[in-house]
Symmetry: C2
Subunit: 377 residues, 2 copies
């Protein structure tokens, strides 16, 4: 439980060259407390159950301990979901059958509490904040809506850069700011959410460019497109990746391929890590944001948990690249933060079990003496 | 949503020849409402999200609808966990390194609220009831403990029948009664739990006998035994299965191999199905109980959900045999009902999403008209 002091700074401005909220957050990301994690694992072996018998729950407990800096971490609650919304110029390439205005319509639904993520967040006792970082429509001020619009949708990534690096930095800043504000307001766990028609195309392009995988491997059917549309989408992704300069840094790749909500998600993840709270990451779009964050501020990954495995092939590519094992695998592909939100009770359970289960000694269980069963028995 | 009337009765006394609570429950198990399930699936396609994008959550919603007999099922809460506790004569064969008295010690820990299942049940708002169906010690009356002791532990299944068929019937009755009582007291979901040192040996023997798999395939390390102990355990399971008469009915197999808590779990499952509530089934021991229940009253399976995949190999054998896909796969092997309890929020979410998510029409989402995207778009 020795807190590293003065070591482990991981990037100053996170390689963005900026001076805003993201750069500040990037400079504040330190490695989590390995000593607290080890102490949590030792405590688990003293609890009234066979050692190791809680599997992933034990590992999650140690992870929470490393973030909280204490062997018995508090329950990571309440959680806060931030849903970053933006539009995509690549919609013009007919990569989806949903009209672009559905982004704004779903923002209204989110604000009215009627989207699936609202339902799940209510169940889990989590708040939902909607952040407009790039919806292609003027949105009326509404309670629960944060206006951090960088621009009215990205440019078409099929024909040129989705945005400028300055705009990418602004979206990163927005995400980092929202994370800091939510934690300042009492959140003890952050959940990534997003909404943006056509954003699986941008996410696929980013994942292809940052992992080096071919477009065919990381491009999926999104909301459920047919063969012809999928072929068009794959071609768009492939051309966009080819257009992106080889050897370009992660910020340049992010600006080239977009989207604004993915950039904001990357900032949000780094902001959560800077604030030392666990960040539960949703599926494919959030995974692309996490991939960007991990390239800009590698240590931020230590604060992140993959909430679930989306059925989108690019989501599994991200999990594989970042060596993450998701908590849930339930065939979801909705986004909004839904899969991550469903994982929250498991994360909370990991903390509660550590803090509340009786020890073998307190339970008076035989075999806690030298001749008893103990570990490996 | 047509409720079958007078059809689908599945077994009278469930093949036990008894006249008690189990026989009554077995006669009351009817097929769930397929019409309500279909209506739930149709409703999902009208919600403000791409059709099918919630994966397993949509299937679970339809399943809950079929049990509730209505397309928008109420949340299956509160849940009630019943922990059936018993001892095993086969402990004498040194198939585990834990002393037999740990069963009674863990019962005391359960009653004091210090076991892992207590922690998880508190988090999920579920009650915990401990049922002594065969602990090999006299237990003092305590609030929260039900005395349904059939005998002081089973006989050693390595050398002869674990119990008589009359005793097996008594344990089945105890389980069915507890299920009925919990539902009468307000439970809207049942969770299987158990505690019994050496019970993975009895479960392995039952699974081998009822699925026809070799002992080596279904016998695991339980609480964490070494190679030598595992070899002894496999040999014990193999001999016990060979001793059991070929072609014996499920009740005879149950009596031959035990254990009392497994018999009670089988009764509990059938009792839950009779009361038309969802039953969330835990890992290996509960899986063995479910296997017995499915052989006695096949339709009971329609009311059961596999909460998680235990790391015990015999658990996967049961899931495969019964064609069940568990909700969670988190490497647990504790029992007590812990894995099933962790799955409860997902089950509850399935009901909430159906009832609370806005429809495409209500959300004013474009593309709900004939020329819009719709299913498969």
């Amino acid at each position: 439980m020795t807190e590293p002091s003065g070591t482990g700074r991981t990037g100053g401005t996170g390689g963005t060259g900026g001076t805003g909220a993201f750069a500040t957050a990037a400079a504040a990301v330190h490695p989590p407390d390995a000593g607290a994690a080890a102490a949590a694992r030792q405590h688990h072996d003293r609890l009234a159950k066979p050692p190791g018998s809680l599997g992933r729950l034990e590992a999650l407990g140690a992870w929470l301990a490393s973030i909280a800096g204490t062997p018995l971490p508090p329950a990571p609650a309440p959680a806060a979901v931030a849903v970053f919304a933006a539009d995509h110029g690549v919609h013009a390439q007919r990569v989806t059958t949903w009209p672009q205005e559905v982004t704004a319509q779903m923002v209204a639904t989110l604000l009215a509490g009627g989207a699936t993520i609202n339902v799940l967040a209510r169940q889990m006792g989590a708040s939902v904040t909607v952040v407009d970082v790039g919806v292609a429509a003027a949105l009326a001020p509404t309670p629960g809506l944060l206006d951090r619009k960088v621009r009215f949708g990205t440019a078409d990534l099929a024909t040129g850069p989705a945005m400028t690096e300055t705009e990418a930095r602004a979206a990163l800043d927005a995400g980092a700011e929202v994370a800091a504000d939510l934690v300042a307001a009492g959140a003890r766990c952050l959940v990534t959410g997003e909404m943006g028609i056509a954003n699986t195309t941008a996410a696929a392009a980013l994942v292809a460019a940052l992992t080096g995988r071919p477009a065919t491997e990381v491009t999926g059917r999104g909301t459920g497109i047919d063969e012809l549309t999928l072929a068009r989408k794959v071609a768009v992704v492939q051309r966009a990746v080819e257009r992106t300069e080889p050897g370009a840094g992660p910020l340049a790749v992010l600006a080239s391929l977009g989207g604004l909500e993915i950039a904001a998600l990357a900032g949000f993840v780094v902001g959560g890590a800077a604030a030392r709270v666990p960040v539960v990451v949703d599926g494919f779009i959030a995974g692309a944001g996490l991939l960007v964050a991990s390239r800009l501020v590698p240590e931020a990954l230590s604060y992140c948990l993959a909430g679930h495995r989306s059925t989108e092939p690019g989501a599994s590519a991200v999990l594989h690249d970042l060596r993450l094992t998701p908590v849930l695998d339930l065939g979801l592909r909705l986004g909004e933060g839904t899969g991550a939100c469903l994982a929250l009770p498991v994360v909370e359970a990991a903390a509660r079990v550590l803090a509340e289960t009786a020890t073998l000694e307190a339970a008076g269980v035989s075999g806690t003496q030298p001749n008893g069963p103990g570990r490996g028995a």
